[in-house]
């Protein structure tokens, strides 16, 4: 009979300025696969880090098998029987499979030498127990990501784990590999393990988990038997609104556009293995096309393919009528495209360079190194955009890293607006910035659209997508699953489309 294996009660964790977890209860039973879902900042990772000893809680209790535990380090948690496999597998590629499985637990002879034969034997047994077939003397490097993932699980389980935490294990696996992992998870469940499965893929929640706990904004938004929870209820719980009361669009998009509409971007059957299923897309001048979907649904992947940041495995992309063969950001920019990435700090800004240099960077890059731009010209351009976008900076020579999030975002927008692109891809342009800056950016988007620019707008905030976009493409599990258009589209419509089971996608 299944009983409570792990009980977390009233867990509170506060970071400076943020309450990451606010009295969260979580129970994991023996012999169950328990999915843990939630959007960005919901508190999933914090909860797991507290369970696995990577983080200390401020308040609350944790018990394992009925006994209170106090894991202070990941190692201590491991000794208690709580094993974790992270998305980025933390194994050593250059060691053999056997060494990786038994690292730190090598069988020793009486003199303290490592018994290599015994080690391989033991590793072989572990692998066979899990019904895997891998040559344990091979270096781990030669194994696929999926097999490494399975080996990481094998290693964790060999250390007499009672609880296994899998943090987004399937995000870089293909369908066959995922099935292999699920088979292993089910075998481990049969042995009595409790498995916490963190994923962004709705289909997988329903395919493999017995129960599901939803976190939202640092609180528990419910624990349910997966089979009894309708998809729509799950999506509503994650996004924090009920379908009946979903807010109507705040503003009706003004249809006024300068000039006739023309198709400026077309993608046909573009795909990338493990990242994005084949999709079609047409974008017209003077429109905002929103991309909606849960975290990990493929919104960013789609934009990266369009901008040439990731190589596509097939399909055609035309920008302003020109077929783009060897795609790269440079070519996309030359064809009239611009992209503001989701992660400003790692992909957008050059932190140590000044506000001015960050603004003119793309322009200079497009002109080539030999065509210089005088200091006064650069200054004039930067000043113009600092004024028109009201970027708050004491001076233009200030390193851009010292600006607030909203102003950093405006610096990147300025960089692209001065290039006068015909197509603008905005990936989460308003994330982590204050309300005022957010409103400014939203009205700027509408202004640019009215001037005839074609904009693709990505946001995890459904109301915002509905408010800003004239047409919405819905994504789920790395595929485009529908399109909604018209002023009457509501967040409820989008949620229904996200929640629809994959089997029904064909007949809209």
């Amino acid at each position: 009979m299944a009983h409570a294996l792990v009980e977390m009660r009233g867990i509170v964790k506060t970071y400076p300025g943020v309450r990451a977890l606010d009295a969260v209860d979580f129970t994991l039973r023996t012999s169950e696969i328990h999915a843990l879902v939630g959007e960005n900042g919901a508190g999933k990772s914090t909860l797991i880090r507290i369970l696995t000893g990577a983080e200390r809680r401020d308040r609350g209790t944790i018990s394992l098998d009925g006994a209170m535990i106090e894991p202070r380090t990941p190692l201590a948690a491991q000794r208690l029987g709580i094993a974790t496999v992270y998305q980025e597998v933390n194994l050593i590629p250059d060691l053999s499979v056997a060494e990786n499985i038994l690292l730190g637990y090598e069988p020793r002879s009486r003199l303290g030498w490592i018994g290599w034969g015994a080690m391989r034997e033991r590793a072989r047994k572990v692998i066979a127990d899990m019904a895997l077939s891998v040559d344990v003397s091979r270096p781990l490097r030669s194994c696929s990501i999926a097999v490494r993932q399975l080996i990481a699980v094998a290693r964790a389980v060999d250390q007499r784990a009672k609880v296994l935490v899998l943090d987004e294990p399937t995000s870089s696996l293909d369908a066959g590999e995922t099935a292999q992992l699920f088979a292993l998870m089910r075998r481990l469940r049969a042995r009595g393990l409790g498995i916490i499965f963190i994923t962004h893929f709705l289909e997988q929640v329903y395919e493999v988990s017995d129960r599901v706990t939803i976190l939202r904004g640092g609180r528990c938004a419910g624990t349910h038997a997966t089979g009894e929870l309708p998809r729509l209820a799950l999506v509503s719980a994650m996004l924090g609104k009920t379908v009946e009361r979903a807010a109507p669009p705040a503003a009706v998009k003004s249809p006024g556009v300068a000039g006739p509409r023309r198709e400026c971007l077309r993608a046909a059957d573009v795909f990338r293995r493990r990242a994005m299923q084949p999709f079609r897309l047409s974008l017209y001048t003077g429109e905002v096309l929103g991309l909606a979907g849960l975290l990990g649904s493929g919104r960013t992947e789609l934009a990266r393919l369009l901008f040439g940041l990731d190589r596509r495995d097939g399909g055609q992309i035309r920008i302003n009528g020109r077929l783009i063969r060897r795609h790269s950001p440079r070519r996309a920019i030359r064809a009239g495209m611009a992209f503001t990435p989701e992660d400003r700090r790692t992909a957008g800004l050059i932190a140590h360079l000044s506000v001015r240099d960050n603004i003119v960077l793309a322009l200079l890059a497009a002109r080539g190194w030999a065509k210089r731009l005088g200091k006064q010209e650069r200054q004039a351009i930067a000043e113009r955009f600092v004024r028109s976008l009201s970027i708050a900076t004491p001076d233009l020579r200030r390193p851009v890293a010292q600006l607030s999030g909203g102003n950093q975002q405006k610096v990147i927008l300025a960089r692209w607006l001065l290039m006068e692109p015909t197509i603008l891809l905005l990936d989460e342009p308003t994330r982590g910035i204050d309300i005022g800056a957010k409103e400014q950016i939203e009205s700027l988007i509408d202004e640019l659209r009215a001037r005839g620019m074609a904009i693709i707008f990505i946001s995890g905030e459904l109301e915002e997508v509905v408010r800003v976009s004239g047409r919405i493409m819905v994504l789920r599990d790395r595929a485009v699953v529908g399109e909604l258009a018209g002023a009457a589209v509501s967040t409820a419509d989008v949620m229904r489309r996200i929640a629809r089971p994959a089997a029904e996608d064909g007949h809209a």
């Binding site: 940041l309 440079r330 790692t346 957008g348 050059i350 360079l353 960077l361 190194w369 020579r397 390193p399």
Partner: protein, 333 residues
């Protein structure tokens, strides 16, 4: 104080301190006099002997700022000398010898750059290959012999000539520094290098050609290493494949670090690297000349003293250490 200035303060202060020390301990350090038609003084000697390191440090600044490193520059110097000496043996003009040597060294720089940008070999490994192979190539070119240059050759002017009283190597190094500063600041190249070295991912997003930018840094490095090799060969009137430029890559890297350019890439300062190179070079001379109660410093202490001074300059630059000291002081108070 702007950021660029504050980073220059420590290397310049250390250099000034060292020169002041010299003025006290060995006043002849600054003693200028005319000899053989040019100015002579220990200070000029420092610059003269330090010219190869100065040239290397200039190129190394760009390479490091672009997020790389080049260990092969000493070996490339040897190649430059070997090629020039071989060409001179055929009775070709000095200009032809210089051109041939620089062309070969440019190719060596491009080779490094291509290995790194297109083959994806880590910079330290790619340039280590040429560091080992390059000296071998130089030895092959010279058949393992030291090839001497005819005493009357115009080529020797590069190492021994003088203009307006200043030795040719000093002039060449200063001219290279001026030209390079102008080149990186008057074009967009300097900004591109700082951008690529500071954040490669964001540079790619902004449409920068990351590979070409890196390649350019290595190509410039190759040319400057070649120039350094020519100066060295002309100075000793011979191509010595075994010893030319030996370990100078390390001095060059040290000069860049002392000059305030971070090994992790990003912002750079050519002026800082120049100060660093002069600091390293004048240290050796200072130690040699210093007299304490009529006794000189034992030669065996040279490297230890040099290391100690370098360590102090690096610690002075460390913001972490400064923060730590501040905290301790506050805790005491």
């Amino acid at each position: 104080m702007p950021d660029s200035m504050s980073r220059l303060v420590w290397p310049l202060a250390a250099l000034a301190l060292l020169l002041a020390f010299n003025a006290v301990v060995s006043p002849s350090f600054f003693h200028l006099h005319f000899a053989e038609g040019r100015l002579a003084s220990p200070l000029i000697d420092v610059l003269n002997q330090g010219a190869p390191v100065l040239l290397l440090a200039l190129g190394m600044t760009l390479v490091i700022a672009a997020g790389g490193i080049d260990l092969s520059v000493g070996a490339v110097m040897a190649i430059a000398g070997a090629v020039a000496a071989r060409v001179l043996e055929t009775d070709a003009s000095a200009a032809a010898a210089v051109a041939a040597a620089l062309a070969v060294c440019l190719a060596a720089g491009l080779w490094n750059g291509l290995l790194i940008t297109f083959a994806g070999v880590p910079p330290i490994v790619a340039t280590l290959i040429l560091m080992v192979a390059g000296r071998g190539i130089a030895q092959l070119i010279t058949d393992g012999q030291i090839i001497t240059v005819e005493p009357g050759s115009a080529f020797l002017a590069i190492g021994r000539g003088a203009l307006l009283g200043l030795p040719a190597p000093v002039l060449i190094a200063l001219a290279a520094a001026g030209a390079l500063s102008a080149a990186v600041r008057l074009t967009s190249l300097g900004l591109f290098i700082e951008s690529v070295g500071g954040n490669e991912e964001a540079s790619r997003h902004a449409g920068l050609d990351v590979r070409s930018t890196r390649l350019a840094a290595y190509a410039i490095m190759g040319l400057l290493a070649g120039l350094a090799g020519l100066v060295d060969a002309a100075d000793i009137a011979a191509a010595d494949a075994n010893n030319s430029g030996l370990y100078l890559e390390l001095d060059a890297i040290l000069a860049v670090v002392i000059g305030g350019t971070a090994l992790t890439g990003g912002r750079f300062s050519l002026l800082g690297s120049l100060a660093g190179a002069i600091l390293i070079q004048s240290l050796s001379t200072t130690i040699l000349m210093a007299q304490f109660g009529g006794r000189s410093v034992p030669v065996e202490l040279n490297l230890v003293i040099k290391a100690a001074v370098v360590l102090i300059v690096c610690l002075l630059q460390s913001s972490e250490l400064r923060r730590l000291l501040l905290r301790t002081r506050r805790a005491v108070a």
